[in-house]
Symmetry: C2
Subunit: 152 residues, 2 copies
DNA sequence: TCAGTATACGACCGATTCTGTCGGCATTTC
DNA sequence: GAAATGCCGACAGAATCGGTCGTATACTGA
Protein backbone atom coordinates (compact mmCIF):
# COMPACT_ATOMS: atom_id res chain seq x y z
CA UNK A 1 0.00 0.00 0.00
CA UNK A 2 0.96 3.56 -0.51
CA UNK A 3 3.47 2.20 -2.95
CA UNK A 4 4.53 3.64 -6.25
CA UNK A 5 3.89 1.35 -9.16
CA UNK A 6 6.90 0.05 -11.01
CA UNK A 7 5.76 2.00 -14.01
CA UNK A 8 6.02 5.23 -12.07
CA UNK A 9 9.40 4.15 -10.82
CA UNK A 10 10.56 3.41 -14.32
CA UNK A 11 9.24 6.72 -15.53
CA UNK A 12 11.10 8.63 -12.87
CA UNK A 13 14.27 6.71 -13.59
CA UNK A 14 13.96 7.38 -17.28
CA UNK A 15 13.41 11.09 -16.82
CA UNK A 16 16.34 11.24 -14.48
CA UNK A 17 18.47 9.50 -17.06
CA UNK A 18 17.40 11.92 -19.74
CA UNK A 19 18.12 14.82 -17.44
CA UNK A 20 21.59 13.48 -16.89
CA UNK A 21 22.35 13.32 -20.59
CA UNK A 22 21.46 16.74 -21.88
CA UNK A 23 24.15 16.65 -24.52
CA UNK A 24 22.59 13.90 -26.59
CA UNK A 25 19.79 15.10 -28.86
CA UNK A 26 17.49 12.19 -28.10
CA UNK A 27 17.69 8.82 -26.40
CA UNK A 28 15.61 5.91 -27.56
CA UNK A 29 13.44 3.91 -25.22
CA UNK A 30 15.81 1.03 -25.74
CA UNK A 31 18.81 3.10 -24.71
CA UNK A 32 17.23 3.94 -21.40
CA UNK A 33 15.84 0.47 -20.88
CA UNK A 34 19.24 -1.07 -21.41
CA UNK A 35 20.85 1.38 -19.05
CA UNK A 36 18.64 0.22 -16.22
CA UNK A 37 17.69 -3.29 -17.22
CA UNK A 38 14.05 -2.38 -17.67
CA UNK A 39 11.88 -4.29 -20.17
CA UNK A 40 12.20 -2.17 -23.26
CA UNK A 41 8.66 -2.46 -24.53
CA UNK A 42 7.23 -1.60 -21.19
CA UNK A 43 9.41 1.44 -20.87
CA UNK A 44 8.42 2.46 -24.37
CA UNK A 45 4.80 2.56 -23.37
CA UNK A 46 5.64 4.59 -20.32
CA UNK A 47 7.61 7.11 -22.32
CA UNK A 48 4.72 7.36 -24.74
CA UNK A 49 2.46 8.21 -21.85
CA UNK A 50 4.84 10.87 -20.68
CA UNK A 51 4.96 12.25 -24.18
CA UNK A 52 1.21 12.36 -24.44
CA UNK A 53 1.13 14.30 -21.20
CA UNK A 54 3.63 16.85 -22.38
CA UNK A 55 6.58 15.88 -20.24
CA UNK A 56 8.65 14.54 -23.11
CA UNK A 57 9.08 15.27 -26.77
CA UNK A 58 9.39 12.31 -29.07
CA UNK A 59 11.00 11.93 -32.39
CA UNK A 60 10.47 8.89 -34.59
CA UNK A 61 12.85 7.51 -37.15
CA UNK A 62 16.53 6.82 -37.07
CA UNK A 63 18.42 8.57 -34.32
CA UNK A 64 15.07 9.40 -32.89
CA UNK A 65 14.00 9.00 -29.31
CA UNK A 66 12.88 11.16 -26.43
CA UNK A 67 14.00 14.33 -24.79
CA UNK A 68 12.68 16.37 -21.92
CA UNK A 69 9.99 18.78 -23.00
CA UNK A 70 11.04 21.20 -20.30
CA UNK A 71 13.94 21.91 -18.06
CA UNK A 72 14.44 19.16 -15.48
CA UNK A 73 13.79 21.76 -12.83
CA UNK A 74 10.32 22.33 -14.24
CA UNK A 75 9.11 18.75 -14.13
CA UNK A 76 7.83 17.52 -10.81
CA UNK A 77 7.66 13.98 -9.55
CA UNK A 78 3.97 14.55 -9.09
CA UNK A 79 3.47 15.21 -12.78
CA UNK A 80 5.27 12.04 -13.67
CA UNK A 81 3.26 9.90 -11.32
CA UNK A 82 0.06 11.53 -12.39
CA UNK A 83 0.83 11.04 -16.06
CA UNK A 84 1.61 7.37 -15.61
CA UNK A 85 -0.76 6.19 -12.93
CA UNK A 86 -3.56 8.70 -13.26
CA UNK A 87 -5.21 10.79 -10.58
CA UNK A 88 -3.57 10.68 -7.24
CA UNK A 89 -5.68 9.56 -4.31
CA UNK A 90 -4.52 7.76 -1.23
CA UNK A 91 -8.04 6.59 -0.48
CA UNK A 92 -10.18 4.54 -2.79
CA UNK A 93 -13.21 6.75 -2.41
CA UNK A 94 -12.27 10.36 -2.57
CA UNK A 95 -14.82 12.97 -3.29
CA UNK A 96 -13.44 13.39 -6.75
CA UNK A 97 -15.17 10.23 -7.80
CA UNK A 98 -18.67 9.27 -6.97
CA UNK A 99 -19.14 9.54 -3.32
CA UNK A 100 -18.05 6.92 -0.91
CA UNK A 101 -19.91 3.68 -1.40
CA UNK A 102 -19.65 2.92 2.25
CA UNK A 103 -22.81 3.75 4.06
CA UNK A 104 -22.74 6.73 6.32
CA UNK A 105 -20.67 9.25 4.45
CA UNK A 106 -17.52 7.81 5.90
CA UNK A 107 -16.24 10.78 7.77
CA UNK A 108 -12.70 9.61 7.73
CA UNK A 109 -12.24 10.67 4.14
CA UNK A 110 -12.24 14.33 4.82
CA UNK A 111 -9.19 14.41 7.07
CA UNK A 112 -7.45 11.96 4.82
CA UNK A 113 -8.07 14.22 1.87
CA UNK A 114 -5.89 16.76 3.64
CA UNK A 115 -3.20 14.18 4.03
CA UNK A 116 -3.58 13.41 0.39
CA UNK A 117 -3.04 17.04 -0.50
CA UNK A 118 -0.02 17.23 1.72
CA UNK A 119 1.61 14.25 0.11
CA UNK A 120 0.78 15.60 -3.31
CA UNK A 121 2.43 18.83 -2.25
CA UNK A 122 5.56 16.99 -1.27
CA UNK A 123 5.69 15.26 -4.62
CA UNK A 124 5.03 18.51 -6.44
CA UNK A 125 7.94 20.12 -4.68
CA UNK A 126 10.35 17.55 -6.06
CA UNK A 127 11.74 18.02 -9.53
CA UNK A 128 13.55 15.65 -11.79
CA UNK A 129 16.54 17.86 -11.24
CA UNK A 130 16.37 17.04 -7.55
CA UNK A 131 16.57 13.36 -8.34
CA UNK A 132 19.80 13.80 -10.22
CA UNK A 133 21.54 15.44 -7.31
CA UNK A 134 21.88 12.22 -5.45
CA UNK A 135 25.53 12.31 -4.47
CA UNK A 136 25.75 14.31 -1.35
CA UNK A 137 29.02 15.81 -0.26
CA UNK A 138 29.73 14.62 3.24
CA UNK A 139 29.23 18.10 4.54
CA UNK A 140 25.66 18.03 3.34
CA UNK A 141 26.11 21.55 2.11
CA UNK A 142 23.97 21.00 -0.93
CA UNK A 143 20.94 19.87 0.95
CA UNK A 144 17.75 21.75 0.68
CA UNK A 145 15.05 21.72 3.25
CA UNK A 146 11.48 22.30 2.27
CA UNK A 147 8.64 22.96 4.52
CA UNK A 148 5.34 21.39 3.84
CA UNK A 149 2.28 22.49 5.69
CA UNK A 150 -0.30 20.01 6.77
CA UNK A 151 -3.60 21.61 7.62
CA UNK A 152 -5.89 19.48 9.68
CA UNK B 1 -0.79 3.54 -6.61
CA UNK B 2 0.12 5.31 -3.46
CA UNK B 3 -3.25 4.21 -2.23
CA UNK B 4 -4.23 3.01 1.19
CA UNK B 5 -5.65 -0.48 1.23
CA UNK B 6 -9.24 -0.83 2.25
CA UNK B 7 -8.09 -2.69 5.29
CA UNK B 8 -6.13 0.31 6.46
CA UNK B 9 -9.15 2.46 5.73
CA UNK B 10 -11.37 0.19 7.72
CA UNK B 11 -8.90 0.13 10.55
CA UNK B 12 -8.77 3.90 10.73
CA UNK B 13 -12.53 4.13 10.60
CA UNK B 14 -12.89 1.60 13.36
CA UNK B 15 -10.42 3.34 15.62
CA UNK B 16 -12.14 6.61 14.98
CA UNK B 17 -15.44 5.04 15.90
CA UNK B 18 -14.02 3.65 19.11
CA UNK B 19 -12.54 7.02 19.92
CA UNK B 20 -15.94 8.61 19.47
CA UNK B 21 -17.59 6.23 21.89
CA UNK B 22 -15.45 6.37 24.98
CA UNK B 23 -18.39 5.83 27.30
CA UNK B 24 -19.05 2.25 26.22
CA UNK B 25 -16.76 -0.28 27.85
CA UNK B 26 -16.15 -2.24 24.69
CA UNK B 27 -17.56 -2.46 21.19
CA UNK B 28 -17.64 -5.71 19.28
CA UNK B 29 -16.29 -6.04 15.78
CA UNK B 30 -19.84 -6.52 14.62
CA UNK B 31 -20.97 -3.28 16.22
CA UNK B 32 -18.38 -1.31 14.32
CA UNK B 33 -18.87 -3.21 11.10
CA UNK B 34 -22.60 -2.58 11.18
CA UNK B 35 -22.07 1.08 11.87
CA UNK B 36 -20.13 1.48 8.66
CA UNK B 37 -21.40 -1.35 6.50
CA UNK B 38 -18.05 -3.11 6.53
CA UNK B 39 -17.89 -6.91 6.18
CA UNK B 40 -17.86 -8.03 9.77
CA UNK B 41 -15.44 -10.90 9.46
CA UNK B 42 -12.98 -8.80 7.61
CA UNK B 43 -13.10 -6.07 10.17
CA UNK B 44 -12.70 -8.66 12.89
CA UNK B 45 -9.40 -9.74 11.43
CA UNK B 46 -8.27 -6.16 11.18
CA UNK B 47 -9.12 -5.44 14.77
CA UNK B 48 -7.26 -8.56 15.77
CA UNK B 49 -4.22 -7.25 13.97
CA UNK B 50 -4.49 -3.94 15.75
CA UNK B 51 -4.80 -5.79 19.03
CA UNK B 52 -1.73 -7.86 18.32
CA UNK B 53 0.16 -4.65 17.67
CA UNK B 54 -0.89 -3.05 20.91
CA UNK B 55 -3.27 -0.44 19.57
CA UNK B 56 -6.37 -2.07 20.95
CA UNK B 57 -7.31 -4.16 23.94
CA UNK B 58 -9.67 -7.02 23.38
CA UNK B 59 -12.03 -8.79 25.62
CA UNK B 60 -13.68 -12.06 24.71
CA UNK B 61 -16.99 -13.35 25.88
CA UNK B 62 -20.38 -11.80 26.08
CA UNK B 63 -20.39 -8.05 26.10
CA UNK B 64 -16.78 -8.27 25.08
CA UNK B 65 -15.18 -6.38 22.27
CA UNK B 66 -12.46 -3.86 21.72
CA UNK B 67 -11.34 -0.62 23.23
CA UNK B 68 -8.46 1.70 22.52
CA UNK B 69 -5.31 0.65 24.29
CA UNK B 70 -4.20 4.25 24.58
CA UNK B 71 -5.65 7.70 24.40
CA UNK B 72 -6.80 8.56 20.89
CA UNK B 73 -4.25 11.34 20.92
CA UNK B 74 -1.48 8.79 21.36
CA UNK B 75 -2.29 6.60 18.39
CA UNK B 76 -1.01 7.78 15.04
CA UNK B 77 -2.36 6.97 11.62
CA UNK B 78 1.09 5.67 10.81
CA UNK B 79 0.89 3.05 13.52
CA UNK B 80 -2.45 1.88 12.25
CA UNK B 81 -1.30 1.56 8.68
CA UNK B 82 1.89 -0.11 9.75
CA UNK B 83 0.06 -2.59 11.93
CA UNK B 84 -2.33 -3.54 9.17
CA UNK B 85 -0.29 -3.38 6.01
CA UNK B 86 3.18 -3.88 7.35
CA UNK B 87 6.31 -1.85 6.70
CA UNK B 88 5.76 1.36 4.88
CA UNK B 89 7.66 1.88 1.65
CA UNK B 90 6.59 3.88 -1.33
CA UNK B 91 9.06 2.09 -3.55
CA UNK B 92 9.18 -1.63 -4.09
CA UNK B 93 12.91 -1.88 -3.57
CA UNK B 94 13.96 0.14 -0.61
CA UNK B 95 17.27 -0.49 0.99
CA UNK B 96 15.52 -2.09 3.92
CA UNK B 97 15.01 -5.21 1.90
CA UNK B 98 17.56 -6.86 -0.27
CA UNK B 99 19.01 -4.31 -2.55
CA UNK B 100 17.34 -3.19 -5.69
CA UNK B 101 17.08 -6.00 -8.18
CA UNK B 102 17.43 -3.57 -11.02
CA UNK B 103 20.90 -3.54 -12.34
CA UNK B 104 22.92 -0.44 -11.68
CA UNK B 105 22.09 0.48 -8.12
CA UNK B 106 19.10 2.46 -9.23
CA UNK B 107 20.03 5.83 -7.93
CA UNK B 108 16.50 7.05 -7.82
CA UNK B 109 15.76 5.16 -4.64
CA UNK B 110 17.82 7.36 -2.43
CA UNK B 111 15.91 10.58 -3.01
CA UNK B 112 12.66 8.69 -2.89
CA UNK B 113 13.58 7.29 0.47
CA UNK B 114 13.55 10.85 1.74
CA UNK B 115 10.11 11.34 0.29
CA UNK B 116 9.10 8.14 1.99
CA UNK B 117 10.32 9.44 5.32
CA UNK B 118 8.49 12.68 4.81
CA UNK B 119 5.21 10.98 4.10
CA UNK B 120 5.72 8.69 7.06
CA UNK B 121 6.30 11.80 9.13
CA UNK B 122 3.05 13.27 7.98
CA UNK B 123 1.19 10.13 8.91
CA UNK B 124 2.94 9.95 12.25
CA UNK B 125 1.81 13.47 13.04
CA UNK B 126 -1.83 12.53 12.67
CA UNK B 127 -3.62 10.95 15.58
CA UNK B 128 -6.90 9.15 15.77
CA UNK B 129 -8.08 12.10 17.77
CA UNK B 130 -7.40 14.31 14.77
CA UNK B 131 -9.66 12.15 12.66
CA UNK B 132 -12.56 12.65 15.00
CA UNK B 133 -12.40 16.41 14.76
CA UNK B 134 -13.81 16.45 11.30
CA UNK B 135 -16.53 19.02 11.64
CA UNK B 136 -14.91 22.33 11.19
CA UNK B 137 -16.58 25.47 12.40
CA UNK B 138 -16.86 27.83 9.49
CA UNK B 139 -14.35 30.09 11.11
CA UNK B 140 -11.75 27.40 10.89
CA UNK B 141 -10.65 28.34 14.35
CA UNK B 142 -9.94 24.79 15.33
CA UNK B 143 -7.53 24.08 12.55
CA UNK B 144 -4.02 23.12 13.29
CA UNK B 145 -1.14 23.56 10.95
CA UNK B 146 1.81 21.28 11.12
CA UNK B 147 5.09 21.73 9.46
CA UNK B 148 6.84 18.84 7.93
CA UNK B 149 10.37 19.13 6.73
CA UNK B 150 11.46 17.47 3.57
CA UNK B 151 15.22 17.15 3.31
CA UNK B 152 16.50 16.53 -0.15
C1' DT C 1 12.42 4.91 -53.34
C1' DC C 2 13.61 1.67 -50.17
C1' DA C 3 15.40 -0.31 -45.99
C1' DG C 4 16.09 0.34 -41.34
C1' DT C 5 15.13 2.45 -37.03
C1' DA C 6 12.12 4.29 -34.02
C1' DT C 7 7.67 5.69 -31.90
C1' DA C 8 2.36 4.65 -31.28
C1' DC C 9 -1.16 1.88 -29.75
C1' DG C 10 -4.28 -1.76 -28.67
C1' DA C 11 -5.04 -6.52 -27.10
C1' DC C 12 -3.89 -9.88 -24.14
C1' DC C 13 -2.16 -13.03 -20.50
C1' DG C 14 0.22 -14.46 -16.30
C1' DA C 15 1.39 -13.11 -11.65
C1' DT C 16 0.62 -10.83 -7.74
C1' DT C 17 -2.01 -8.62 -4.41
C1' DC C 18 -6.25 -7.48 -2.25
C1' DT C 19 -10.82 -8.42 -0.49
C1' DG C 20 -13.82 -11.14 1.53
C1' DT C 21 -15.56 -15.83 3.26
C1' DC C 22 -15.51 -20.17 5.75
C1' DG C 23 -14.58 -23.32 9.37
C1' DG C 24 -12.88 -24.48 13.63
C1' DC C 25 -11.21 -23.25 18.19
C1' DA C 26 -10.63 -20.52 22.63
C1' DT C 27 -12.41 -17.46 26.15
C1' DT C 28 -15.68 -15.17 28.99
C1' DT C 29 -20.31 -14.21 30.81
C1' DC C 30 -24.73 -15.54 32.26
C1' DG D 1 -23.46 -25.46 29.42
C1' DA D 2 -25.07 -22.22 26.09
C1' DA D 3 -24.45 -17.94 23.90
C1' DA D 4 -21.55 -14.29 22.55
C1' DT D 5 -17.40 -12.92 21.42
C1' DG D 6 -12.46 -12.92 20.03
C1' DC D 7 -8.58 -15.73 17.52
C1' DC D 8 -6.54 -17.83 13.60
C1' DG D 9 -5.41 -20.18 9.33
C1' DA D 10 -6.84 -21.45 4.70
C1' DC D 11 -8.82 -20.36 0.68
C1' DA D 12 -11.46 -18.44 -3.37
C1' DG D 13 -12.90 -14.56 -6.32
C1' DA D 14 -11.68 -10.12 -8.02
C1' DA D 15 -8.87 -6.47 -9.21
C1' DT D 16 -4.67 -4.60 -10.40
C1' DC D 17 -0.15 -4.76 -12.23
C1' DG D 18 3.70 -6.18 -15.07
C1' DG D 19 5.11 -7.49 -19.18
C1' DT D 20 4.66 -9.28 -24.12
C1' DC D 21 3.08 -9.36 -28.91
C1' DG D 22 1.60 -7.73 -33.17
C1' DT D 23 0.83 -4.18 -36.14
C1' DA D 24 0.72 0.41 -37.84
C1' DT D 25 2.95 4.77 -38.51
C1' DA D 26 6.68 8.14 -38.94
C1' DC D 27 11.20 9.68 -39.95
C1' DT D 28 16.10 9.22 -41.73
C1' DG D 29 19.62 8.36 -44.74
C1' DA D 30 21.67 6.03 -48.51
Amino acid sequence: MLKLTKKADYGLMALKYLAEHPETPALSAKDVADAYGIPAQLLAKILQLLTRNGLLRSHAGMNGGYELARDAREISAYEVIHAIDGPFFITSCTKGDKNCDLTPSCTIKEPLARVNDTIAGVLKSISIQDLTEHEQPAGRAAEANRLVTLTL
